[in-house]
Symmetry: C2
Subunit: 352 residues, 2 copies
């Protein structure tokens, strides 16, 4: 008998719950009549955490997440909590840290159906298919001291050997399963942490003789993502630079509203989340793009539960709605979140 | 009688001297038969500084630069000096600091002639015309401690109130002369220095009631530069983020080989330089794109010497060669650096 998988659902803020509903509807449709069994566990988090439990990351949410098989998170934050003592984003940084989710994986794939949506000319963007492996629990995001004083402010970028080494192995291992090409991004002509990053990349790389390595300064990489995105395979990048460049990479697909991500640790559950924000400006209108959340669900099924066939069914449903322009306004369509979701559910029902 | 302007020439490395020669040829042609008189003062700097004087920034170069009316710098650095005790880039960071050049101004303008060269679709890129005002002498580039140890590394991001205030005034003043719109870029949902940056922007903004302000997180801005570049006017950004986003902005023009920049301090000469690197891979082949250096010369004439008419003549020459495809291979042409330069010189000679 297969065990029932425990999925913690952190439903998000503003458009967060709208797209979570869509994602869960697709999950239900796609797993129906399969052997995959799951249980959803709702837990307060982000703005919703502040509202329901007084904190963006209540201890109970950490506890239940640690026991889960996967954590599914939707977009969080927004103006409602701007003056909260601890803002929703604080919860996000903390859950990454508490669950030790040191690697954030963000795929950038431009399918034939998406080429038209890209701001880039087709000849630049075609065949793009790379993943960004972003370090997620150190660097400028967590270094101490961090001080905001009346007349000055300080942040610290920090990396230890262990932190850099494990993210490198993560990236190189992924490359071995893909096209065996790693790109190391840093600013080693200026920063000490970046010199360190590059040095360790070079050392770790020696254990993966089948993988080609190249090195880019972050400023040059921001150009290359636009001018030759199809040349990359696995991009290993420090936390802060990864935040910036993964958004740039998302944009070349034409809509950040499509991109899932996965955060992984040494052990414990992975966390899955769309990479976009909670879009307070369009919340409540029923027009949020559900694709990112649906792709996030597919990624969870494939990566945490090895349910590649179910994931493929979902991905096919996404391709189907994009090709047929059954999409929300941000992608040039006229459908609501619910209508788009229904189209995917119907497609999945009839999927052979 | 007009005084003779002193221009310090730091000729650069690899393709640096090749494009400097081009820039100076155009300067000579464009100022001929005008009242503008200048003297060129060659000084060792960067890799050339190491070779000729044992250091990327000899004291004599600092001294002569401080006395100058402007400093004209070409691209520096390269593999030849990879193992030098002080690398060429060190000289660049230090001259910015020693001359107190706290603001780096990088224009991104996409003219009709350039639209075809952009990796972006025309409807995205048309009408783009903004300037990036990058803080240049503080932030992650200069913060202490900076440590590279065996098992860990540290960098420090630092900003003082004075440093942030003066760059804000610089940007807001520029906006008043342009389209009265300032965009503040930071990562204030995570970094203390960014919260500080945004707070001071907000305060300084109150003294410029005619200027509209908006705020972008750096990750969102990296998307906006691609998806709606024409909506920006003046972008004020910390040192490290500015390094990254100004290269992204350069890329949307289709060739970083076109973009000039200017670094300004509270007093003393401005420093002018192309924003691209020294391209060791194509050095010595006579195919380096001279446009960035020529635009840099035009910027110097307009900004340091108030010679708007001469600058316009040069800009017209650049438009002319782009329109007629008299360009180097990086821009899809077949001409050499020398041939392109000659086309500009000839155009200027016949300019009414
Ligand atoms: C919301 C914010 C704190 C977060 C980050 O900077 O990591 C987000 O931009 C992301 O990339 O997941
Ligand atoms: C060469 C390097 C140190 C420099 C920087 O990072 O500032 C360059 O990229 C620039 O933008 O002028």
């Amino acid at each position: 008998m297969t065990s029932v998988k425990k999925i913690v659902v952190l439903k998000g803020d503003y458009i967060g719950p709208e797209i979570m509903t869509a994602g869960l509807a697709v999950l239900e449709a796609a797993t129906k009549d399969t052997t995959f069994a799951y249980e959803l566990i709702d837990a307060p988090f982000g703005g919703d955490g502040i509202d329901r439990a007084g904190d963006p990351l209540p201890q109970s949410t950490i506890d239940v997440s640690k026991q889960a098989d996967a954590v599914l998170l939707s977009a969080i934050g927004g103006p409602k909590w701007d003056n909260a003592p601890r803002r929703p984003e604080q919860g996000l940084l903390e859950i990454r840290s508490k669950l030790n989710l040191f690697a954030n994986i963000r795929p950038t794939k431009v399918t034939q159906a998406q080429i038209d949506r890209s701001p880039l000319k087709p000849e630049y963007v075609k065949n793009t298919d790379f993943v960004i492996v972003r370090e997620l629990t150190s660097g400028a995001y967590f270094g101490k001291p961090r001080k905001l004083e009346a007349h000055q402010a300080i942040d610290t970028m920090y990396y230890s050997e262990e932190e850099v080494t494990r993210i490198m192995h993560q990236g190189f291992k992924m490359a071995q399963k893909r096209n065996k090409h790693v790109t190391i991004v840093d600013k080693s002509n200026v920063l000490a942490t970046s010199k360190f990053w590059r040095k360790i990349a070079n050392e770790v790389g020696k254990s993966y003789p089948d993988v080609t390595i190249d090195y880019y300064y972050v400023d040059a990489m921001t150009m290359a993502i636009m001018s030759k995105p199809a040349t990359f395979d696995v991009v290993i990048i420090p936390n802060l630079f990864g935040d910036i460049l993964s958004d740039e990479a998302a944009q070349i697909t034409g809509s950040i509203g499509q991109i899932p991500s996965m955060s992984v640790g040494e052990s414990g559950p992975n966390l899955y989340e769309p990479i976009h924000g909670s879009a307070p400006d369009i919340a409540g209108q029923g027009i949020a793009n559900p694709i990112s959340m649906v792709n996030t669900v597919a990624m969870m099924l494939a990566e945490s539960f090895d349910e590649k066939r179910i994931a493929d069914k979902i991905t096919a449903a996404v391709d189907y709605i994009i090709e047929n322009h059954y999409v929300t306004p941000d992608m040039g369509g006229t459908m609501t979140t619910g209508e788009v979701t229904q189209k995917m559910v119907d497609y999945i029902k009839n999927y052979e």
